[in-house]
């Protein structure tokens, strides 16, 4: 149940991050910080596993800092968010207490998604790379 809720919250956070990137003039840092601050203040007192969910949202907010060339649609952002929630959930005991751990998880999620995209549709990936 915790894992499922973790994924759902990550998807909502990812969609919110992508929407903010597309529809506001906020910088990537501002978008990420707003999402992380909201999650950090709202989720821990609200839910029993709120601290974990806040960490997931924070990691997803870092993933949402992707450039439009790397992540160009809601679908991709949602896939990245789902992967990110799984990486955070199953990687809770890795690099504990080390600053940058969430960002590393976010980067791994983005790279996994990019890798999958390249393998599943190599033509599209090549076109995107050529720009």
């Amino acid at each position: 149940m915790t894992l499922l809720l973790n994924i759902v919250i990550a998807l909502v956070c990812g969609a919110a991050g992508f929407w903010l990137r597309q529809n506001t003039k906020l910088s990537v840092v501002e978008v990420s910080a707003i999402l992380a601050l909201t999650a950090g203040l709202v989720l821990p007192p609200l839910l029993q596993e709120g601290a974990l969910f806040a960490l997931t949202c924070t990691a997803v907010s870092y993933a949402a800092m992707c450039s439009s060339e790397r992540c160009c649609s809601y679908r991709e952002m949602l896939i990245i968010s789902a992967i990110c929630s799984l990486v955070i959930y199953f990687g809770q005991s890795v690099l504990v207490g080390i600053g940058g751990r969430l960002g590393t998880s976010a980067a791994v999620s983005v790279l996994l998604c990019l890798l999958a995209k390249r393998f599943l549709s190599p033509d599209q990936a090549q076109k995107a790379a050529k720009g």
Binding site: V29, A33, S109
Partner: protein, 165 residues
């Protein structure tokens, strides 16, 4: 090409941690070896120029790390809220690349007080984060989480050096 090893430091550390090897002498030496090879490769790149930007980034990152760490551990705000607060306020003051460097510094400051019982090593990690940011400016461009990975690299390296890992 080899300079890209720098950004893989936290991934190497994560794999070592999964196999409980990170705190061993082998793990620490491997992490430091990856760093040394990466730094030498980065410094020998033709495009690399030693400018004041390196010092500026190091200082900015260090200040952000310190502020975040103090807000997180001394005021008890927690790492997520402290980092986001410093990031949001810093983004109003700084522009462009400085914003990113500052935000990366806050990730260094998200480290646990158990890892950094004193401020000295944290400040070194902050400085190193800024330097690594400049050295890896062509790595993973546009990939979300890149700043956190650089921060983690700095923290892991300092902890490997002082034996706090």
């Amino acid at each position: 090409m080899w300079y890209q090893l720098l950004i893989f430091v936290p991934l190497v550390a994560a794999v070592l941690d999964i196999f409980n090897l990170l705190s061993t002498a082998f793990g620490r030496i491997l992490v430091l070896a990856v760093l040394v090879v990466g730094v030498f490769a980065a410094l020998s790149r033709p495009s690399f120029k030693l400018t004041t930007a390196l010092v500026r980034s190091a200082v900015l990152s260090c200040l952000a790390a310190l502020l975040t760490f103090l807000l997180s551990t001394r005021l008890g705000l927690g790492a997520v809220v402290a980092s986001a607060l410093v990031g949001l306020v810093g983004a109003q003051v700084l522009k462009g690349k400085d914003q990113l460097v500052m935000y990366m510094g806050t990730f260094v400051g998200m480290s646990s007080a158990l890892r950094f019982p004193t401020l000295g090593p944290l400040l070194v990690a902050g400085l190193l984060g800024g330097v690594l940011f400049e050295l890896t400016d062509e790595c993973w461009v546009g990939v979300g989480g890149r700043l956190g990975t650089i921060a983690a690299a700095a923290v892991v390296v300092v902890l490997a050096l002082i034996g706090g890992i």
